[in-house]
């Protein structure tokens, strides 16, 4: 049996991205295999968020190719929709829909995009909320929950679309310290189920424990890629060493 991680799920080839004259991504080459967990680290403004936002087309890349599960992202709206259906995203600011109850937040996409019935979608939603361990909050509104709970609802909301890929954009950066753990644990459990994940984070403990590979970015470029052991104990590049010495 071949290792699923050798089959590509996400391929980025020579990707460039500009904001005006500022180059946010420069010549990015990265292949993420099925069930692989990749953690992206780097100083702020290095293009980490832009990188994962190009994967579900929240940002349009200006050059190169982005291929997600065999679908190349082009201007074709159907391709974009297909990729988004397979790709969940969790944001730093949670971005729950404040006018909808927790349950409605989670059932919205299955009903509207997957055309699932009310009962079926609610059963699915409760399953996902149980998975992130807050089924008892289903009838509340996001504003009534703590930050950690909101972020777990956001994870459940993405999971309800039964995505093949989950993208995390600094999921714990807006949380109080005591809530970071519950979210990281949820993500760790998710990784254990074989979900393909790209995680932008500053949580080095998480990177060490969960990542298959760590990607270090600076100035819109990928500086170094490696396993966590290699990366944290024996980095090759000067930039990496400098960055690690600053944060560890």
């Amino acid at each position: 049996m071949t290792d699923p991680k050798s089959q590509p799920m996400i391929q980025l080839e020579k990707v460039d991205k500009f904001f005006g004259s500022f180059q946010a991504l420069r010549d990015i080459d990265l292949v993420v295999g099925r069930t692989e967990v990749v953690v992206v680290i780097g100083p702020s403004g290095s293009g980490k968020s832009t990188l994962i936002r190009c994967i579900n087309r929240l940002e349009k890349h200006d050059a190169g190719r982005v291929i997600v599960d065999g679908i190349e992202l082009t201007d074709d709206v159907r391709n974009i929709q297909d990729v988004r259906k397979e790709t969940g995203m969790v944001f730093q600011q949670f971005n729950l829909f404040p006018h909808l109850s927790v349950l409605d937040n989670v059932t919205l996409a299955p009903r509207q995009v997957r055309r699932m019935g009310k009962d079926e979608s609610e059963k699915l939603a409760m399953k996902m909320l149980t998975r992130v361990r807050i089924p008892e909050q289903a009838r509340k509104f996001p504003g009534q929950l703590s930050g950690g709970q909101q972020q777990r609802v956001a994870i459940a909301r993405s999971l309800a679309m039964q995505p093949k890929i989950m993208l995390f954009d600094e999921p714990t950066s807006a949380l109080d310290p005591e809530m970071i753990k519950e979210v990281l644990e949820t993500m760790e459990e998710l990784a254990a189920t074989g979900m393909t994940m790209i995680v932008v984070t500053h949580e080095m403990g998480f990177a060490r424990a969960v990542a298959d590979r760590v990607v270090f970015m600076a100035d819109g470029q990928i500086v170094e890629v490696g396993t966590p052991e290699h990366f944290f104990t024996n980095p090759e590049e000067e930039r990496t060493k400098l960055f690690l010495s600053q944060i560890l």
Binding site: R84, T87, Q93, H99, L108, Q112, V113, P142, Q144, A154
Partner: protein, 402 residues
């Protein structure tokens, strides 16, 4: 005595806390006392015959008197519609509480009559003043009948099993009322008085809202032609005084229409009001759209929702909620602006005031000091009710706010 002591302390602390505070309290107290004295003297000595004689004129303008029963029937039908709407809102709230496993509030009972009166006291005041000015008993019977029907239909609908289809009644009944009012050649051209002001406000809002919404969304469209058209429309009509548009509507609209079409002046006024209001409503909605964090749209897109579904399910519910205060302000100013139609010769309530004071019996007696406060009271009651209802709605929608 035990109750009086804290009250005395409150008075001392808040009204006579120091020399300046005491002076302000005494000064304002004297001013309020003087105004109250003048007002009471006015109410006690003034002769309200002009209002008594012309109450129908103020309410419906020159609507043919033998046909007044149509207005009565329309009022009763609208009372049913309002009652049904109230009952349905109550029933759906209780159903939702039941589904969410929260304590279900009781259906409306005698207590809600008191609450209803407190909620709508400005309107109740206006109605009471009008009834005091009636010369026959018929209007009183009509008003009591309408209130009875409203309460009965509201209580009935709150107790019947909730069905979303019942809302079609709330939409259909005003049309029935309109047909009763306008059949046998009594189109809205024959309407006048307060009825015309209310009609122009309601119809203006109903027509202008969807147009304004489209313009607001158009202004943010990615299609340059749509965006340019929306911006041009908004900036053109927002830059013109309403009175100019009304005059243009009356005198120049014909130039743009085929000669067979010759809309009545009320229709032309309504077109002008709609055009004008749509531009303002568009700007109000744009404010709401801009207040929405971009993360909301990104989250919806990342879940695979189409642009249209994102707009309908995520953007608009939040944006429109944020615009309630500004929107109601806009509606209130439209309500008051409908008096401008007096300038193009329609007999709205403000104009009926001048019609009444120039009747031979009342001419040149300075009776505007009697009629204008009455007109002011009517508009104040309507505006203040809108404002109160908006605040109530805001509070209720506050649940689940970020």
């Amino acid at each position: 005595m035990t109750i009086a002591a804290p009250r005395r302390r409150w008075v001392k602390k808040n009204l006579f806390g120091g020399v300046w505070s005491s002076l302000v309290t005494i000064g304002l107290g004297l001013a309020i006392g003087y105004v109250a004295f003048v007002l009471i003297r006015f109410l006690a000595t003034a002769d309200f015959t002009i209002l008594r004689r012309n109450l129908a004129l103020f309410m419906v303008g020159s609507f043919p008197r033998p046909e007044l029963w149509r207005v009565a029937v329309a009022v009763l039908i609208l009372a049913v519609a309002a009652g049904v709407a109230g009952g349905l809102i109550n029933a759906s709230a209780r159903l939702r509480a039941h589904q969410a496993g929260l304590p279900v509030p009781a259906p409306p009972g005698p207590r809600s009559l008191v609450n209803g009166f407190r909620r709508y006291w400005p309107l109740a005041l206006l109605i009471a003043v009008c009834l005091l000015l009636t010369e026959t008993v018929t209007p009183t019977i009509l008003v009591l009948g309408a209130i009875g029907i409203l309460v009965a239909s509201s209580w009935a609908l709150a107790r019947l099993p909730y069905s979303r289809w019942s809302w079609s009644l709330v939409v259909a009944l005003p049309f029935v009322a309109y047909l009763v009012l306008s059949s046998s050649g009594l189109g809205w051209d024959k309407w006048g008085g307060f009825m015309l002001n209310i009609f122009l406000t309601v119809a203006g809002i109903l027509f202008a809202f969807p147009i304004g919404l489209s313009l607001a969304l158009g202004r943010r469209s990615s299609l340059p032609i749509v965006r340019t058209f929306s911006v041009a429309y908004i900036e053109l009509f927002r830059g013109v005084p309403l009175i100019t548009l009304l005059l243009l509507g009356v005198f120049a609209l014909r130039l743009f229409l085929p000669s067979q079409l010759n809309p009545s002046s009320v229709t032309r006024i309504l077109v002008a009001i709609t055009i004008f209001e749509a531009a303002y409503i568009a700007e109000v909605i744009r404010g709401g759209l801009q207040s929405l964090p971009t993360g909301q749209v990104e989250a919806a897109s990342s879940l695979g929702l189409s642009t249209w579904k994102t707009t309908r399910l995520i953007v608009l519910p939040q944006a429109l909620r944020a615009t309630i205060p500004a929107m109601v302000g806009q509606f209130i100013s439209l309500f008051k602006d409908t008096t401008l139609v007096a300038a193009v010769g329609l007999s709205d309530m403000l104009n009926t005031s001048s019609i009444a004071t120039s009747q031979p019996e009342f001419n040149a007696r300075g009776l505007a000091r009697i009629t204008l406060p009455f007109v002011a009271l009517a508009f104040w009651a309507g505006s203040y009710t809108m404002s109160r209802e908006a605040r109530r709605l805001e509070r209720r929608l506050g649940i689940g706010e970020r």
